[in-house]
């Protein structure tokens, strides 16, 4: 029995690649991209790519990771969640608490070290609290920050907080058999409520100020950002690769078959004896956890997180990326998220030259959203399979 189990594993893995040649291809591309960026970076290579651009690319990889999670929950399982950025943000907040607390603690200890008597733990903790929370008019450490100084604890929170929220929300929603557009509205309400809650000053997460200075990594404060940016880029690339493998495995076998069947006709799946609600909950929670991990890697690169990050519009963008890239194919979500978010930061970041038509000046910061909206409508109408659908077309032509 044990023997057969150990020999079965490689067979299965080979089948995963055989059935999905795109997985191997994607891994290759991701590896080459990571190598290329490293060689061109300021921290580890010849310095063609600025540190800022390395951060943008690393953040884009995190967005690709949440996009494939969105593709699994929407494109494969048919749940149009418009709230997955809430999980992304919660992951960011969880790691942000440690980054901010630990860094402030180091700074406080250094400044107190000059005194004649060494400071007590209580003095340090109070000084940290007033340093972090004076901006919201408080000098007490909120209850949820009790273990903020512990990296393992906050790392566990990165997974547990989004996971538990998704589990409870999903359990309530799915067992009441809320589906379709009503479920989408419910998920929007969830992310809106969370964002409005976090905007308040007394929630212990610094209200609209959010958490900042997250690019400074405690213990590595002397390491230049040009090096740290590449570390995070590697971590993001690794997470995207691992997430891609995990999801490719999840959707390739019978499990993938069942969730696609749920997407197409959930009542019929019930009559086959499958507990549809259990499957939805599983997929919803798993993708929420991965979204939390993506957020925890994103915000140290962004440097700041505040409640507007989890406003409802963020989750709608996520759905737009996946639709543009092509639903129901993981690489489609990656293409959509990468192309749209990079294009967006190029056009709105002042990188693109404005076009003077003589009678009218096209200012990209104003026109970008109009173009995105128009593009979304056109793709939905004429290319329901998105950019990924083009690959099908090309493959068939060969």
């Amino acid at each position: 029995m044990e023997m057969s189990r150990t020999t079965a594993a490689p067979v299965k893995r080979r089948r995963l690649f055989q059935n999905n040649p795109s997985v191997l291809w994607f891994m290759g591309q991701l590896g080459l991209f990571t190598l290329g960026v490293t060689i061109l970076s300021e921290g580890f290579g010849i310095g063609v790519i600025s540190t800022n651009l390395v951060k943008i690319l690393g953040m884009t990889l995190c967005l690709c990771l949440i996009a494939i999670a969105m593709d699994v929950v929407w494109g494969y399982c048919g749940i149009l969640s418009l709230g997955h950025f809430a999980f992304f943000g919660l992951g960011g907040y969880a790691i942000g608490m440690w980054l901010m607390y630990a860094r402030t603690e180091i700074v406080i200890r250094e400044s107190l070290a000059g005194g004649t008597i060494p400071p007590t733990e209580r003095e340090v903790s109070e000084a940290v609290a007033s340093q972090i929370f004076s901006v919201v008019g408080s000098n007490e450490l909120p209850l949820i920050w009790t273990f903020a100084g512990s990296l393992p604890f906050q790392l566990a929170m990165v997974v547990l907080v989004p996971g538990l929220l998704a589990l409870i929300f999903g359990w309530l929603a799915f067992r009441s058999r809320v589906t379709g557009v009503y479920l989408s509205i419910l998920t929007q309400a969830m992310t809106l409520a969370l964002s409005l809650y976090l905007f308040q000053n007394d929630t212990g997460l610094r209200g609209n100020n959010g958490l900042s200075g997250l690019q400074n990594i405690p213990g590595f404060l002397h390491v230049p950002q040009s090096v740290i940016s590449v570390w995070f880029f590697w971590a993001s690339a690794f997470a995207l690769g691992a997430g891609y493998l995990l999801f490719a495995w999840v959707v390739s076998g019978k499990f993938g078959s069942v969730i696609r069947a749920i997407r197409d006709n959930e009542a019929r799946v019930r009559f086959l004896g499958y507990n549809v609600e259990g499957y939805k909950l599983f997929v919803f929670t798993l993708t929420a956890v991965i979204s939390g991990i993506a957020g925890a890697l994103y915000y140290p690169q962004a440097g700041i997180i505040n409640p507007s990050e989890i406003a409802p519009i963020a989750s709608i963008y996520l759905a737009v990326w996946v639709a543009i890239g092509g639903r129901g194919r993981l690489y489609g979500a990656v293409i959509g998220a990468a192309s749209v978010s990079l294009l967006s930061s190029w056009l709105t970041g002042g990188g693109a030259p404005n076009i003077d038509l003589g009678f009218y000046r096209i200012i990209w910061t104003d026109w970008w959203l109009v173009m995105l909206g128009l593009g979304f409508v056109l793709i939905t109408l004429f290319f329901p399979k998105g950019i990924g659908g083009l690959f099908d077309y090309l493959v068939r032509k060969q």
Binding site: K12, K254, S257, R270
Partner: protein
């Protein structure tokens, strides 16, 4: 032959319309039973109640030796307990291959974790091949189910039903849209299945029912109007009035 399913005194009302009215019906194991009746007689609603899709206002639905109350179970639990259903309109998963459709229906563990780590055993593989042979789709295992002909989809759905290995098969209009040759094949399939289990067939086509050579229950306005052999019920004057005479 022991009683497998017993429905007694069941009524259900939709917006004031009494779809099922004090209906009592029982089926044994093994048995082949045909259910006929005009449109609106409550045939499909009856199946909805047994499979847990619709909850009746009153009455009892009792299953098996241990007299399990089906009204307390969810659709998926009822399916797991051994009741399979074929819908009127063929509902197979069109985007997926014939093999994947059958694999999903195979009698295996249904929990997310066991499905996630599932890989076909030799037994599963042979079973899929046997089923495909039985429903005449051996050549089409890798085809997308949506590309099958109407009759082939009906068979695939029957194949999925057999794959579940249920004790009771509820089959809603299996011969709809089939050619005469396909109908004959379908009759054979159902008769063979009924050797070891209970099979209940809803059908309009009298010729099809005659070929099933089984006991017939006539429904009318949500309750049983007559029951017996086909010859017996077709001689019943009430049956002639409401159904056959038209």
């Amino acid at each position: 032959m022991t009683t497998l399913l017993e429905v007694s005194g069941v009524s259900v009302t939709f917006d004031g319309f009494r779809a099922i009215n004090n209906l009592s019906i029982a089926i044994g194991e093994p048995e082949l039973r045909a259910v006929i009746g005009p449109n609106g007689a409550g045939k499909t609603t009856f199946m909805d109640i047994v499979t847990g899709k619709t909850r009746p206002d009153e009455g009892r639905v009792i299953w098996g030796e241990r007299s399990i109350d089906l009204l307390k179970l969810s659709e998926s639990d009822i399916a797991k307990i051994g009741i399979g259903r074929k819908f009127q309109k063929p509902t197979v998963f069109e985007e997926q291959s014939v093999r994947d459709n059958l694999a999903m229906a195979l009698k295996n563990k249904r929990g997310p974790l066991s499905v996630l780590t599932w890989s076909a055993t030799e037994h599963d593989k042979t079973r899929i091949l046997e089923l495909a042979a039985e429903i005449g789709l051996s050549e089409h295992l890798t085809r997308r189910a949506g590309d099958l002909s109407h009759g082939q989809k009906q068979w695939l759905e029957i194949g999925m039903l057999l794959a579940q290995d249920p004790r009771l098969l509820l089959v809603d209009e299996p011969a709809a849209g089939m050619t005469p040759a396909e109908r004959e094949h379908t009759t054979d399939l159902l008769k063979r299945a009924a050797r070891t289990r209970a099979v209940m067939v809803i059908e309009h086509d009298m010729e099809f029912i005659r070929r099933l050579e089984c006991r017939v229950t006539v429904l009318h306005e949500g309750s049983v109007l007559a029951e017996g052999s086909l010859d017996h019920v077709t001689r019943n004057s009430q049956v002639i009035d409401v159904y056959l005479g038209r």
